[in-house]
Symmetry: C2
Subunit: 492 residues, 2 copies
């Protein structure tokens, strides 16, 4: 009865797709490269959004909304940014359709409704936002400006994968303006901290904070900070980025402010974003061959109660007890679902909620009622235990915390076991092919060497970890001197 | 010091724009017809979203997300819907830019990156959603499907106005699928009820529920239900619509289900939407010549506390008391702001929060502390009163409820005074020009007459009210027999 999932060992990539589709997180759509986020996946995203949004607001940010479209002349104003995104831009050229004179009931683009200036669908919003900030910032009193936007963006990708890389995706993008370089850098680092906090304490995914090399920087940034997570196949995944943009956008859009000394200065900028891609990270960091494993803090359903009974009389008795339990769980803010759908058997339901990664399953049998117990099964370890009904909600509350912590610990142990130093090129290649994970190795600091390593191995420098220890050594490829190890990995 | 607002009497339309811009709800953008929703306006929208979203979930709906793009072949599948929106579609034709060989640093659309099939930016999502539902619905067990989406949509309007009519706007669109006609109609009416509840009990805007005439129906619907509100200039504004779509989209996208009798049937559909346009309704229904007046339930800031003091010692004393008050207000869930910015004088702040429509202002003076009182000013009536600090939070909590109720009552009195029967064409024209508001008049039921009345007077039939009384009479224009009065008005 249960849906078949390809195992990780058999085909990791297919396993991932199976989980996303059969776990009902998302579906393919009729539009090339675009997905549909299904209700279960969207409820997960809403919980992630909710937590991140509170963190943004707690750090002084407010939300706003800027247009979907960027006129081409604004888009190209910051040249590096424009160059970086030009190859993946969806472009609106017309604003009307008309009846096709050749085919009844069909439509064609009306050639007379051509836009004078093409509109780019935002791949990111620095251009449209900084063209607006110009009108909002006159003096140091208008600063800092700490604004976030939840939005859809479009980047025309040739190879797409559900959540990980889609032409349209949902994200949040923070865009802040500051009076000084120091304050902007502080903001960039603070928001990296928020992302790391969210990844570790809500998603239960341990991350390494670091700075990108020049060639991996966001187009238009002076520095890109990132958090890097590790998936179960040993590949890394960038889970959030925070950019120090210097004065690049202020100069491109002529955004100046009068400082306290009454002098005009260009404004300093940051931007930072995290997207529905995080859902891909979540799936790949925790799940197993039976399905998703979702961390309790963001799981759409934290507890599912499945009744077991024969006949209406038993059903009625179980219902009464279930309602009591549900009321008590809801009082403590636990998200609970009672599945008494009699079209499906308990065994089918067990497999279904295992597939969907619900952290705790309560089996409430008519016979158990006599003994005043219920069977509690946790999704992460698959342990089952009979628990007295008295004090059940407190037990479950603690269990959810324990599962959250256990998932983080497990992922962290795996991650820590997969940070390996390499001291020779042979060792480096061998580690990549046989063990995977992060490799700490010396690099001579040049873009050429970075590119050559990528060409040879498909491994990239994920980041230079923050607070990295200085250590003399020789570049893994060229043997040239290096003063620190950097973090390599193959990545999503 | 305070910002100038044009008065309603002088220029109602300019008054509206002044409120939106100077009240910091929104701003113009660099993109034709698109606006920027500023943080204060967006916080208002978030509160509206939050309330609506809870109402949708309480009535069994879940959220999901569907693509921004609709391939042209899907867009044209439901012919009436396609025909209705064809003239206002933004169309993506290319997916790449490239360097302009003629101008260094500039970009042009890459002619080699032309899409094989053009993509329409959703003006509404029936087409993309029903092409997806086809894969999700096989049997009656899959029904009903009760899904809502919060999204941006684009309708290329020639004349735009902030919030009321913009090329891009934010909205929610519910799309439900049902096994029977009756159930779909019930859903359509239920969601109309949710909109009316929200408008009246959250926005404090009284509405009339009704059904549109055939010529005012949503393109592709069998019936369009609506709520109609009245603005202070006597013009009506449609504040939400709920459509019974029959089997039109099921037939266009071949969505059938196996019913309980094991027979294949087409699915029945509804869709319903409300947008950021509601903010325009809110502004025009309540505000005055000093600025916005926001209903407490959705106001971003419900209470602002302005300290009055001389010197640091007084400031410190006021701060301590203010913090106590704020803590107690927050305990009861009240959204409060303490404005102790010493760059602005109290008088300037008073005008500013009046402009922004904050329901309650607390003036906390150093001298008042001796008497253990504070001055409370309410925005709606502008009454001021000295209130003892003991029990202040309870007083304010009650006051917020009273303001909410008073705003509704005031708007309802105005609205009720502006529903006028007209029994002759002269009277009809005179009422429209001199009094405005809704006019109840007989109509012969033909689209020709409806159109002729619109041509002559710019008044449209806003709706045929639900539970309308039957009454014999003669059409206001043609004198032909009619069995009920319908609701006319000039409208936004």
């Amino acid at each position: 009865m249960s849906k078949e999932i390809t195992s990780r060992a058999e085909d990791y990539s297919q396993w991932y797709n199976d989980l996303v589709i059969k776990g009902e997180l998302a579906d393919y759509s009729a539009v090339r490269g675009c997905m549909v986020i299904k209700p279960y996946g969207f409820a997960l995203w809403e919980n992630m959004q909710g937590a991140l949004d509170r963190m943004f607001k707690d750090t002084g940010h407010v939300n706003a909304y800027f247009p979907l479209f960027v006129p081409k002349s604004l888009f190209e104003a910051e040249e590096k940014n424009a160059e970086g995104f030009a190859k993946e831009c969806a472009v609106v050229t017309h604003y009307r359709l008309k009846a096709d004179p050749a085919k009844k009931g069909k439509l064609i683009v009306d050639p007379e409704a051509k836009l004078e200036e093409e509109l780019i669908i935002r791949p990111t919003s620095e251009a449209i936002i900084w063209s607006t900030y110009k009108n909002w910032i006159q003096s140091y009193r208008d600063l800092p400006l700490l604004i976030n936007q939840w939005a859809n963006v479009v980047r025309w990708e040739m190879r797409t994968r559900l959540f990980l890389r889609t032409a349209e995706f949902l994200w949040q993008e923070g865009h802040t303006a500051h009076a000084t370089r120091e304050e902007a850098i502080e903001e960039t680092e603070k928001m990296l901290g928020v992302y790391a906090d969210f990844a570790e304490n809500w998603m239960a995914v341990p991350v390494i904070k670091g700075v990108k090399t020049a060639s991996e920087r966001f187009a238009g940034a002076e520095d890109t900070y990132c958090i890097e997570a590790l998936m179960q196949d040993g590949k890394a995944l960038q889970a959030g980025t925070s950019h120090f943009l210097g004065q690049n956008f202020a100069k491109a859009f002529d955004v100046k402010f009068l400082n306290k000394e009454n002098q005009l200065e260009y404004v300093w900028a940051t931007s930072w974003g995290a997207s529905t891609r995080l859902i891909g990270a979540l799936v790949m960091a925790h799940s197993d061959d039976q399905g998703l494993i979702l961390p309790p803090k963001i799981a759409p359903v934290q507890v599912v109660i499945v009744p077991i009974y024969k006949g209406d009389q038993q059903k009625a008795a179980v219902d009464i007890k279930a309602k009591e339990i549900i009321a008590r769980l809801k009082e403590t803010g636990i998200r609970v679902k009672y599945d008494d759908n009699d079209n499906a058997r308990p065994g089918w339901k067990f497999a279904e909620y295992e597939m969907k990664g619900v952290p705790v399953r309560v089996t409430l049998g008519a016979r158990d009622l006599e003994n005043n117990i219920a069977e509690i099964a946790r999704r992460d370890t698959k342990e089952k235990r009979n628990v007295p009904l008295d004090g059940l909600s407190a037990y479950i509350g603690e269990l959810l915390n324990e599962i959250q912590q256990n998932m983080f610990n497990k992922a962290k142990t795996y991650r820590d076991e997969h940070i390996t130093p390499a001291n020779s090129w042979n060792e480096f290649e061998k580690l990549l092919d046989e063990k995977g994970g992060f490799i700490l190795a010396h690099w001579d600091g040049t873009a050429e060497t970075e590119e050559a390593i990528k060409e040879k191995t498909k491994a990239t420098i994920r980041c230079i970890p923050l607070n990295n220890q200085k250590e003399s050594g020789q570049c893994i490829l060229t043997g040239k001197p290096s003063d620190q190890r950097v973090l390599f990995a193959r990545a999503y």
